[in-house]
């Protein structure tokens, strides 16, 4: 039997029954299944219709990405637009990121909303350190991304000088829509499916900072997945991170195509050793 191994993103794990009668039928079938009364084709049909298999990691990141808890942490002008993001017009609760937590220990997303002065940088770093893993950082606006217009003695020229930043949002200040867009991009990253960064888009693999330059004549190895636009990848243990460095045998493919090819190849050759207990069922 072909068990569909699919991503959880975009799927509701439970589709609601349409009527009480239908619910009753489902309950009875579930009872039969649990008793072991269903066999053969019946069981396969039941499993196909009712069970969605995935890996625990994917289910976890699906849940995490859809309930990001930002820290109540405003720095300057951008903080006002960050508050607007929660307000009724923009309503970031549509994306599950509206519950601002006053304590960094209850938050998993730090929005650096404003200029980070040199006096504030250790405080920001301490707040980041107090947050529990997994955690993500959004750098909102020009100041915290690069120092912005304040190229002077007082402002840290980019918050990624002292903590890992996942998403940079341009603007001075960014509109609330821009911030929500950044949060959606972060969600993609949390789901383990980061969007194309500029290196992927322009086929500039191998230009990462600190890498050895490519030898003349050698083909650059395409990389699966991608770094975010700023090129700063902090794995934070999301499932996509393991794939980031895996070279594939299709150098002409990029981005999503390459990842699909990689996944297909993986399916063709099951990993050695025992299969994971969760999400797998031996073929009949």
């Amino acid at each position: 039997m072909e068990v569909e191994r699919t991503k959880l993103r975009g799927l509701s794990p439970l589709d609601r029954p349409r009527s009480p009668a239908e619910l009753r039928v489902r309950q009875l079938r579930a009872r039969d299944m649990l008793r072991g009364d269903l066999e053969g084709a019946d069981l396969d049909e039941y499993v196909e219709s009712r069970v969605l298999t995935t890996t625990l990691e994917r289910a976890q990141s699906w849940a995490r990405g859809n309930s990001l808890f930002p820290a109540t942490f405003g720095l300057a002008c951008c903080a006002i637009e960050m508050m607007s993001m929660v307000s009724a017009r923009y309503d970031t609760s549509r994306f599950g990121a509206e519950v601002f937590r006053a304590s960094p220990r209850q938050a998993d997303m730090l929005i650096l909303s404003g200029r980070v002065s040199i006096k504030m940088a250790p405080v920001v770093r301490r707040i980041y350190d107090q947050m529990l893993e997994p955690k993500w950082v959004l750098s909102m606006g020009a100041c915290s991304s690069s120092g912005g217009m304040f190229a002077n003695y007082a402002v840290v020229q980019g918050a990624d000088k002292f903590l890992p930043v996942d998403i940079h949002i341009p603007g001075c200040p960014p509109r609330p829509e821009a911030l929500i867009y950044g949060i959606l991009k972060l969600q993609r990253k949390v789901f383990g499916d980061p969007d194309l960064g500029w290196r992927e888009r322009y086929r500039a693999g191998g230009t990462e900072e600190g890498r050895r330059p490519w030898k003349a004549g050698a083909l650059p190895v395409e990389r699966v997945g991608s770094a975010p636009a700023a090129g700063i990848v902090t794995g934070h243990g999301q499932p996509g991170a393991a794939q980031l460095d895996a070279p594939v045998g299709h150098p002409q493919l990029t981005g999503h195509e390459a990842r699909d090819a990689y996944e297909e190849a993986e399916e063709d050759e099951p990993a050695a050793g025992p299969r994971p207990a969760v999400g797998w069922r031996d073929d009949a």
């Binding site: 006002i80 017009r89 006053a102 200029r115 217009m149 003695y153 001075c172």
Partner: protein
């Protein structure tokens, strides 16, 4: 901080035993806290002072303010603000920029009163240049300044109510705030930090339909203010947190140099719009609301009344908006119209010189104050004859008003500190600059 290891400048704030039990207006502890045994448990007389650190990351400090609070039980005995966590070096950065490129820096000081910042800076530069702005520009400035005042008060009210537990106010205030930001976006293209004012007038004339939108807003806003009052004025929790809390007498506020709604709530009718002013506020009919007691309740009431008066001013400004140019016809200061660049060599040269070097300002000093949402925004400008200012200083009301925080809080509960700070409505970007 251990009370035994206080810094020397902290020593003068220690009060004598007779003073210790009294608040800023000399009320005894029994009058403030009460006499019943349950109320008295808030004070543990035998305990030594316990100093806690509030901020710089605290959701109720309205920014990155840090407060060292000395508590005796639950009662605030001393308070010391520590600032500089969002110090941006704006005043220094302005010295590196030509006059018209410094305006975006000035805007980002008090980030809820960007029009006031701009008006003060442009006014100071115009004073030095001896430049008269056309009446349409002056009226447009007043229109936007008053919209900005409502916007700032809305954010202040929404977040203050949020701090006191009334989250609905936040939604409603931000709903109206967004309609104001739509107007800003319509006239300038940006929601915040619009850089709409510039030396010589305003950047652009208002677009078609702006006046209609403003009138719609003016028709809508008084009803919305009435809704806020209906929500808060009879709310027992809100009343208890506001009434008779944080009183500072008028004389003390004047000594401290406090301006704005804080001072007017204490009964002093000081408003720069009513004294002689470079902007033609004299052509407008409006009142200056004042309070009587000077507690948080008066501060809240004064701000609501000010929003009503601002709506009146906006209505008059949009109805009586003079025709004419929106920027002075001074080609040595003002960019030539865009269409002239294609046909006139002189305009092209003028444009090039202004964009690359900027205009030169004759040597001198000027101070230009504007009544903003928090009080007196004043820019002190020193020019040395070059195209860049020699010194830019902003007299920011949040910075001066913050001095009153200690007087407001000492002798009261630590919970009232939150209410006091919310009604003080400081903007840390303006304090630290």
């Amino acid at each position: 901080m251990n009370p035994t290891t206080r810094a020397p400048d902290y020593a003068d704030t220690v009060r004598t035993p007779e003073e210790l039990g009294r608040d800023a207006i000399g009320r005894t502890e029994a009058q403030v806290i009460g006499t019943s045994p349950i109320e008295r448990t808030a004070i543990e007389r035998e305990e030594e002072l316990f100093t806690i650190n509030m901020g710089p990351h605290h959701p109720a400090t309205h920014g990155v303010l840090r407060l060292l609070v000395s508590l005796e039980g639950e009662v605030v005995r001393d308070l010391k603000p520590v600032m500089g966590y969002v110090h941006t070096g704006i005043e220094k950065s302005c010295e590196d920029k030509s006059y018209w490129k410094a305006i975006p820096f000035i805007e980002r000081m008090d980030y809820l009163a960007y029009y006031s910042n701009m008006a003060a800076f442009c006014g100071a530069a115009e004073t030095l240049l001896d430049l008269e702005i056309p009446p349409r520009a002056a009226w447009l400035r007043i229109l936007h300044l008053e919209l900005n005042r409502i916007h700032s008060h809305l954010v202040g009210l929404g977040t203050s109510a949020l701090d006191l537990g009334a989250i609905s106010m936040f939604w409603y205030c931000f709903r109206e705030r967004d309609t104001i930001l739509d107007l800003f976006e319509m006239s300038s293209g940006q929601r915040m930090h619009t850089r709409y004012f510039q030396v010589g007038g305003v950047a652009e004339d208002i677009p078609v339909g702006f006046a209609r939108k403003v009138r719609e807003f003016c028709a809508l806003m008084p009803g919305r203010i009435a809704e806020y009052e209906a929500l808060l004025d009879h709310n027992e929790i809100f009343l208890q947190r506001m009434k008779d809390v944080g009183i500072v007498p008028r004389e003390r506020l004047l000594e401290l140099g406090v301006t704005g709604p804080l001072l007017r709530a204490a009964g002093e009718p000081w408003d720069l719009r009513k004294v002689e002013h470079a902007l033609p506020y004299a052509d407008f009919e409006f009142d200056v609301p004042i309070g009587t007691v000077g507690d948080n309740w008066d501060r809240y009431r004064v701000r609501l009344a000010e929003m009503r008066e601002s709506v009146r001013i906006i209505e008059q400004a949009v109805d009586g908006l003079p025709e004419g140019s929106w920027i002075a016809d001074e080609r040595h200061v003002v960019l030539p119209p865009r269409h002239e660049l294609a046909t006139s060599m002189e305009a092209l040269i003028q444009h090039f010189k202004l964009v690359t070097e900027g205009f030169r300002v004759p040597p001198g000093e000027a101070y230009f104050p504007v009544e903003g949402p928090r009080g007196e925004y004043g820019v002190f400008l020193v020019a040395d004859g070059s195209a860049k200012p020699a010194r830019v200083h902003m007299r920011d009301p949040s910075f001066v008003n913050l001095q009153a925080l200690r007087e407001m809080c000492v002798g009261g509960y630590v919970a009232d500190l939150i209410a006091n700070l919310a009604m003080l409505d400081p903007i840390l970007g303006g304090i630290d600059r």
